[in-house]
Symmetry: C2
Subunit: 224 residues, 2 copies
């Protein structure tokens, strides 16, 4: 059958898997712990997902789906936005997602430290297509004067995403070292403001404003 308990157990396992893999990575996570957290018998994992590896892949695909949703949710309105506004919009959505689901970045980090079949799968299916598009977008924004243009787009991209999500990856450390919860709404919005100020070219310095000029009276206050 297709409803009720089956989906419930499946989704409970998926949610628990996201949390565990996000905290301990693939090697550090035990399927028995996932089953315990989900409140189901650990034999069910073999039934709903054929293996630990498959469950991990399902968790990754699920999170990337959420990411896609979050980053593109305002896509329909992009045509009414200046290049600068588009960057602000997608960067803001990306940072809010990174705060809401830090597990994705964490899982990717765990796997990106060494070669493996999982990294190959991850790269082919998600990282390469996603990053290629992102770097192309950065290069375009550089041409449009939203970002500085004297830095290679690849370096700028990796600095951007690192700046955006690093603070959420290190949340337990920051909480322990400074008693600051970076997941507080205030902290999130403060971080968005900081990242945009740091990564984007100051507005007055843009030498190539967008043709329609609608961005000239915009500033960061409209995203906080």
């Amino acid at each position: 059958m297709e409803t009720g308990l089956e989906l419930d157990t499946r989704s409970k396992l998926l949610k628990a898997a996201v949390v565990q893999f996000g905290k301990f990575g693939f090697a550090g996570t035990s399927v028995r712990k996932i089953a315990d957290d989900a409140g189901v018998n650990h034999g069910s994992i073999k039934y709903h997902y054929s293996s630990k590896d498959d469950l991990w892949r399902a968790a990754v695909a699920y999170l990337y789906g959420l990411l896609d949703e979050a980053v593109h949710k305002d896509e329909a309105e992009w045509k009414n936005m200046s290049p600068r506004e588009q960057i602000i919009n997608s960067a803001t959505n990306y940072i809010r997602f990174s705060a809401k689901h830090p597990e994705l970045s964490r899982i990717v980090f765990f796997e990106t430290m060494h070669e493996s079949e999982r990294l190959e799968w991850l790269t082919e299916n998600f990282i390469r297509p996603y990053t290629s598009r992102a770097i192309a977008r950065v290069a375009l924004a550089q041409e449009q004067g939203v970002y500085v243009d004297d830095v290679p787009a690849m370096n700028l991209h990796y600095v951007n995403i690192a700046a955006a999500k690093n603070i959420f990856l290190m949340a337990p450390e920051i909480k322990r070292a400074f008693d600051i919860d970076v997941f507080d709404d205030d902290q999130i919005e403060q971080h968005i403001d900081a990242v945009l100020k740091l990564t984007m070219r100051p507005e007055h310095a843009e030498e190539k404003p967008s043709p329609d000029g609608t961005d000239t009276d915009k500033n960061f206050s409209n995203v906080t």
Copy 2:
């Protein structure tokens, strides 16, 4: 005794531990694999280090020692430098170290994803003191006009270090996705140049130049 084989076995174990913990984290690393890589019997770990945990702590302390050495190696000359030059010097040293020993950042990342006794030890002994000093230094540099001052020092600090080391953390991913080796000397220097350009305030925009004015004719080309 204190020389010869003893130190050799100890240091071989330490080096192998750095590599393994840096790739797979604490949970994902087996002491048998470390012993294999070091070419010694795995029983020797219990002799030279009382446990896997102690070996991990020794590896971390060893790497932090190297970091301290790398970042402060030019400290004697800082008094002859402008604030801007000091930041360039320490940031450059930090990035070069991150490229030479990405294991430290990786090990810290593995542990900073969840609470644990290891994270407590790490935070108390290394992260908190190191980060406190770094954030204070950032705040000072903001006052000196080296960094923008409309962003909280904490956010700026975490953006800075993320920008500096992220690309080296993700080296296997970048190699696989774009066939670029970020550890090539050219790539390292290009990244240093990019990070400095992105994180530091443009020189002409500095409103508070250093009193002696020696930084007015400096640019990034002197650090590549």
